[in-house]
């Protein structure tokens, strides 16, 4: 364990925000689930007790008949906003006094930084470069992420859980979102920051960054493992594999939805349902490529002269 290397990584000024992220994301995930738990317990009680349903104010916070349902913004909200502003100001000033922003040598195109890293918030995408062609990792996937995020309100047809935290009423939506955000975004950012060293090679945390390490690992394309040769055969094999993967994952998901979430399927139009399935399958394809590469040294499923998947 090379603690010096760990310290060097963690204390790099531009990496400090990710240490912060590492603390804040779990904290807020916990907080959201704590609030969800409170609501879910209330929901269970209300479902059990029809009389309570008629009288209860339906929020897990105290309320007595006669109390107003709203409060004045001045002072009740504004005082909190002013307090928050003061705290943020103090935190930022202290942070800025204690830690200097980095400034390296002047830009020098003939002296390549190794590793050359994008700013930390893009390292998830840079990490995807390991698994995908640059046009997919750098252009297609970010576009799909943005469009997928924008589609969320239009494909999530569940009328429950509007404006309150809950887990039990929205399991599928929350699990999918958190998987995408926590694993495919935050975790990849962390891998890109702390694990990827010179040559974008994998260095476990605490392993010394050896600038002369050469990667002897050979990665195969899937058709090589299956001994497929010949220009068109290779393309046909890859297309069949990717198409088959999508069909099977889509099919299994479909069966799962129909069996376990029939109401969700019933509420969705065909366009909504197809969009949801497509995004889900694409997400699983990303996962499959990461697992294939890291676990089984398989690089591409589909190889063509123009692009690879």
């Amino acid at each position: 364990m090379d603690w010096h290397q760990v310290w060097e990584l963690v204390s790099l000024p531009d990496n400090v925000p990710i240490v912060l992220l590492l603390l804040m994301v779990p904290f807020y995930t916990w907080l959201a689930f704590r609030e969800a738990g409170r609501n879910d317990r209330l929901i269970a009680e209300l479902e059990r007790d029809p009389d309570m349903r008629k009288t209860h104010h339906r929020v897990p916070y105290p309320w007595k008949p006669g109390w107003p349902k709203t409060v004045h913004v001045w002072p009740h909200l504004l005082k909190r906003e002013f307090l928050a502003a003061i705290i943020v100001t103090v935190v930022m000033i202290v942070w800025s006094i204690c830690l200097d922003a980095p400034l390296e040598e002047p830009a020098n195109p003939s002296l390549t930084m190794n590793p050359s890293k994008a700013p930390w918030y893009f390292l998830g995408l840079q990490e995807l470069l390991v698994y995908f062609d640059p046009w997919i990792a750098g252009v297609v996937l970010p576009s799909i992420i943005l469009m997928g995020l924008m589609a969320i309100p239009y494909i999530d047809v569940n009328p429950l859980g509007n404006g309150y935290y809950t887990w039990k009423q929205r399991k599928f939506a929350i699990a999918t979102f958190l998987f995408g955000f926590l694993v495919l975004w935050v975790l990849l950012v962390i891998i890109g920051t702390f694990i990827r060293g010179p040559g974008w090679l994998w260095f476990n945390l605490g392993e010394t960054w050896d600038h002369h390490r050469v990667d002897h690992q050979v990665n195969y394309d899937l058709h090589e493992l299956f001994g497929v040769t010949g220009a068109w055969q290779v393309i046909a094999f890859g297309a069949a594999f990717v198409g088959g993967f999508c069909a099977i994952v889509g099919g299994i998901t479909h069966l799962w939805v129909v069996k376990c979430m029939p109401l969700m399927r019933k509420r969705m139009s065909l366009v909504q349902y197809a969009t949801m399935l497509q995004l889900w399958v694409l997400m699983m394809l990303v996962v499959a490529k990461i697992i294939a590469r890291l676990g089984f040294t398989v690089k591409n499923f589909l190889v063509t002269p123009w692009f690879n998947i």
Binding site: L103, E105, A107, N108, L129, V139, G163, Y164
Partner: protein
């Protein structure tokens, strides 16, 4: 000679004081107004009345007017859901993100006074800021760390909006405005990264924009790009950088995107975002829980 240091001022014959009924102090005191009187008179002046449009005593009406008659505060409604002010619901994340944006605008404007977006000068200006400009280093650090913090708080704000189901009708559109804000927040941070013109920024932006050359159809290394006649000198990456490599033109372009274009776009989106929160019926919750058994469809 009257300026001599050794000259002693003559003693006043009768000291003005409490004990002396004819003294200046007593006369002034008799004329003086109480603070309450003064306040009342001040509030009756034309100047005061032209600025403040409502009374200040603590009444429900004035509490509402304090918010409604201020251009800065009237983004808020006069009253909110009693539980919406709980930290546990919004985490204050949207507000903190906006406050960081304000801090960034302030520190960024000050930084602009010291910064020339040209090769050689840019790096030197950062050195000046660090070592010579009063509080320059603090200014630069504040700008940098606020930018990083804003990226984090934007992500967390998105996460809270998702977890509380606040994108559901009628707030679908505002979620979309939010996604654009997320994009532009990250682009703001990214374009700023190049400006110190050091190795860190140079290689980060080189790596980042290298992806652009692989853009399908529009990049010279992307699928079908070369077939359509794109080269390193006319593709989308060239348009971003103003050249085929990260150099002086790229620095200028990053500067203009960073200091002018994206802040304007983000501000417009923020205006829409905040307007929409009001128009969608204020903050979404904590809403009364709904029960599956009560939904009929």
């Amino acid at each position: 000679m009257s300026h001599g240091h050794d000259e002693v001022p003559p003693e006043p014959e009768t000291p003005a004081g409490e004990g002396n009924p004819g003294g200046l102090f007593t006369k002034l005191r008799a004329k003086a107004k109480s603070p309450a009187q003064l306040q009342a008179e001040l509030k009756n002046t034309q100047v005061w009345k032209s600025i403040f449009r409502h009374k200040l005593d603590d009444s429900a009406r004035n509490r509402s007017l304090a918010v409604l008659s201020s251009v800065f505060l009237h983004l808020h409604p006069a009253r909110v859901n009693r539980d919406a002010v709980r930290y546990n619901f919004t985490w204050g994340m949207g507000g903190i993100t906006f406050y960081l944006f304000v801090l960034l605008t302030l520190t960024g404007t000050l930084l602009m006074f010291y910064f020339h977006p040209s090769k050689g000068e840019a790096y030197r200006d950062i050195m000046f800021l660090q070592h010579d400009v009063p509080f320059g280093n603090l200014l630069r650090n504040m700008h940098r760390w606020c930018a990083h913090a804003m990226v984090i708080t934007t992500w967390l704000h998105m996460m809270r909006v998702f977890m509380s189901g606040s994108y559901k009708p009628p707030r679908e559109f505002n979620w979309n405005i939010g996604v654009l804000l997320l994009l532009f927040t990250m682009l703001l941070s990214f374009t700023g990264y190049l400006l110190p013109d050091d190795q860190l920024g140079f290689w980060a932006v080189t790596v980042g924009t290298n992806m652009a050359r692989a853009t399908p159809v529009m990049g010279h290394e992307g699928p079908f790009g070369p077939e359509l006649g794109f080269t390193a000198f006319n593709d989308v990456r060239f348009a971003l950088l103003g050249g085929s490599v990260v150099d002086a033109n790229a620095l200028l372009r990053a500067y203009i995107w960073h200091c002018i274009a994206i802040p304007i776009i983000a501000s417009v989106l923020l205006i829409v975002h905040f307007w929409r929160i009001r128009k969608d019926g204020a903050i979404s919750g904590p809403a009364p829980v709904m029960l599956a058994s009560e939904i009929t469809d």
